[in-house]
Amino acid sequence: MTIALYCILYAGVLVFLAGCIVRAISYASKPIHLRWEIYPVPHGRSGELKIMVPEILFLKGLWEFNRPMWWVSYPFHLGLYLIAAAVVLLGGASLAPGVLYPVLHDASVVCGTAGPALGLLGASGLMVRRLSAPELKPYNAPGDFFNLALFIGTTSLILAGVWFRPVGSPGPGAILQGAARFDVNLQPSPLLAAGFMLGCALLAYIPMTHMAHFIAKYFTYHAIRWDERGPLADGSIQRKMAEYLTYRPTWAAPHVGADGKRNWAEVATTNPTQAGAK
């Protein structure tokens, strides 16, 4: 079981990373759109950070514009952040000199406990809202409930696995450290192992859903809302535009005059009201 657990853990992480990379590349390789910013537009790295840091850490937008949702969404997201922090702290503890080990390890334990608890609380709250809020109900799809159920199931299993763990059996930190060393002698409790396996499945599933909005958000904010670069300031935009104007559209309405042979530059310079226009 231990080997299977490690394999699933590695597979989950790899699929997650690969899925995120594929999704990010897919968005990044889309053509540069026409300017479509929304003001106020922050300027410079520090200007963007002033908005992004509170947005990422505290979900500031939701706090401002949808407070009832924030009360359930924030614990959920904070729980995920803490779980991620716990993993990072654990890794740090493994590498840190002896004097820092207990600090990092204890911080990892705190985050690793609070994270799933807050995640469970938030996911349950989101589920209740999805089931009860009249403004949400008409737009729910079965997949929305499945996604939340996955989070509820994973965090419940991990918390129960830790809570009911037999004395002497490894905890989450020990399992992760065991996975890093591929220590096949480790014997996790079945409940905790099930929680980890479900968590890995969830991790692999996230990039295939709208839940990968942590990737999307970079583009919607940085590359759309705040992108007021003009072509003269950035030569690469002008080169790209020149390429796009050679694309051959196939829009069928007669006034467009696109037949799949004429390119955008030709379409744009044709006056459909004048004789000879296609």
């Binding site: 003001y39 937008g61 939701l62 737009y139 990968a212 958000k217 003009g230 309405a253 744009a268 006056n271």
Partner: protein
């Protein structure tokens, strides 16, 4: 029935999915606080219902003919799907592909956007006008018809039945959004429901040839044919401007003569030609201010270059690009240093922002709003101003396209604070403003009873803001000025204030910004603003 559901959009009957009564609407402050006394809506005629697809709500924007046979319906659905696929193809829609795909794939359906939408709020929370209602249908169609997700995708994202009634209702629904993008401003993810409506309009126009007559046939096509959607050719517009110059000279006591086709001028000024027809004092005031400030400027008589409108911005990339190129080519021909856009919001965004990346280097001539130029003139002291001439309550409307979508927020306020001692802001304002309700072409759309919809629903939030801004001075004895530096917004205000009789009963007048500047000029005969309805 008030709350339509997504699946109702596919209902085969042609009955409207909703009906809005005045009692459903968001309450207004005094003097319009009695729903029973609110104006009744004109109902759609039987003839309209018989001939056109009117199965969405109480009105009809498109005059979409009813297909006569099931085969015709099938063919139209096929065209729609073809257009939907093109909307997500690089060759056809590189212009907005990235933001569109992101909006399709990442809406969390949290409904944060709904509270920011003036149409949804004004309708009393009618589900049909929720920003995500339209987007959710497009999203489900995207996963179904473009991504070919099958059953698993339908389970994950939700399903929708695709048929002609759905397509017909969706076409109408694309014209129940002002494209103000206030919803996108508040979306925590950055999904853009305004963009979805915009792209839907493009699909219908560019693939199926479906667009409101006022915007396409009488709008962008007429502009490309004769030079202006007003129907004025170059000779007519020159004649009209000449009359305006005479009138302004007589009225102000300062001789004004608009320069035409001056090579090498510093500024090529492009007005919305609607100003020339409907509010001639606006281009007249511009001419006077630019002359007084000693600016080297000109107008152009080239095709389309004397009318800054670019309706393609709202519904059609090809039409948009054609008009933008004509504007830029005229500037290049005259070798002007910059293009300055008169008081027209969508023209600002079209030429200064959206066209920016489209224009090749040789045509990418600096383009700017007239508002900073006017601010510089006012603050420079080049013209002598007497703010006491504007000693009446004034509030300022922020056109979405100039403010939220272009970032021009302060220049107009600096002017107001300098020359209007009783200036008061609407709440909220600036980049958080509300649309006038006439945005994205609605101000020029008046078919059937569409006006009733845009005054009762899309314009209602702005009407509430205006009444609140003037709440302390609603008495008829106090003339009040609603400043709207945008032709489209002024059109909406003219019609909406008139509809509710707010000039006759409460003396709320609307007008542009330059009129206030000229009204305050000491060198001008007093009384440039004549407090007459027009």
């Amino acid at each position: 029935m008030k709350n339509a559901e997504l699946r109702d959009m596919s209902r085969p009957d042609r009955e409207p999915l909703t009906h809005i009564g005045n009692e459903d609407l968001m309450p207004l402050p005094a003097p319009l606080d009695d729903p029973a006394a609110d104006r009744a809506w004109k109902t759609l005629s039987e003839q309209a219902r018989a001939n056109y697809e009117c199965g969405l709500d109480d009105t009809c924007a498109l005059n979409l003919p009813r297909p006569k046979t099931p085969e015709e319906e099938t063919e139209l659905v096929r065209k729609f799907v073809s257009g939907l696929e093109k909307l997500f193809s690089r060759a056809n829609n590189w212009t907005f592909l990235q933001p569109l795909v992101l909006s399709m794939e990442h809406c969390a359906k949290c409904q944060t956007c709904a509270d920011s939408c003036h149409i949804f709020e004004a309708s009393g929370g009618n589900e049909l006008y929720r920003p995500t209602f339209r987007s959710e249908i497009v999203r489900r169609l995207y996963f179904k018809c473009v991504k070919h997700g099958g059953l698993l995708s339908a389970w994950q994202h939700g399903d929708i039945e695709l048929n002609w009634p759905l397509v017909a209702r969706l076409a109408e629904l694309a014209y129940r959004c002002n494209l103000c993008r206030r919803c996108a401003q508040t979306c925590p993810i950055g999904a853009d429901n305004g963009l979805v409506a915009h792209e839907l309009r493009k699909l219908f126009s560019m693939e199926m040839g479906i667009a409101p007559k006022e915007i396409h046939d009488n709008g962008s096509m007429l502009q490309l044919k004769v030079g202006s959607s007003t129907g004025m050719n170059a000779a007519a517009v020159k004649d009209n401007i000449s009359f305006i110059d005479e009138d302004i000279s007589e009225k102000t006591g300062i001789h004004v003569e608009t320069p035409w086709d001056v090579e090498g001028a510093d500024v090529l000024l492009i007005h919305n030609a609607g100003e020339i027809m409907a509010w001639p004092e606006n281009p007249g005031a511009f001419a006077l201010i630019l002359k007084a400030a000693g600016i080297s400027w000109t107008m152009s008589s080239e095709l389309a270059a004397y009318d800054s409108i670019n309706y393609g911005l709202w519904y059609d990339d090809a039409q948009f690009a054609r008009v933008a190129l004509l504007h830029a080519q005229a500037a290049k021909k005259l070798k002007v240093k910059r293009i300055v856009l008169g008081e027209c919001g969508h023209a600002h965004k079209a030429l200064a922002v959206i066209a920016d990346r489209l224009l090749p280097r040789e045509l990418n001539i600096p383009r700017q709003s007239s508002l900073p130029l006017l601010r510089d003139i006012v603050m420079s002291g080049k013209i002598d101003l007497d703010p006491s001439r504007n000693a009446f309550p004034v509030t300022l409307h922020d056109p979405c396209n100039e403010v939220r979508l272009m970032g021009v927020v302060e220049p107009q306020r600096e002017i107001m604070r300098a020359i209007c001692p009783q200036f008061r802001e609407m709440q909220p304002h600036g980049t958080e403003n509300y649309c006038c309700g006439g945005g994205s072409g609605f101000a020029i759309m008046s078919g059937h009873n569409f006006q009733d919809w845009r005054f009762h629903v899309s314009g209602r939030k702005k009407l509430q803001q205006i009444l609140n801004a003037f709440a302390d001075c609603m008495d008829r004895s106090i003339p009040k000025y609603l400043c709207a530096p945008c032709s489209n917004c002024k059109g909406q205000f003219r019609d909406m204030l008139n509809y509710y009789d707010l000039w006759e009963k409460n003396r709320i007048l609307y007008g542009g910004l330059v009129e206030l500047i000229v009204n305050a000029m000491r060198a001008v005969k007093p009384g440039f603003i004549d407090w007459e309805w027009h």
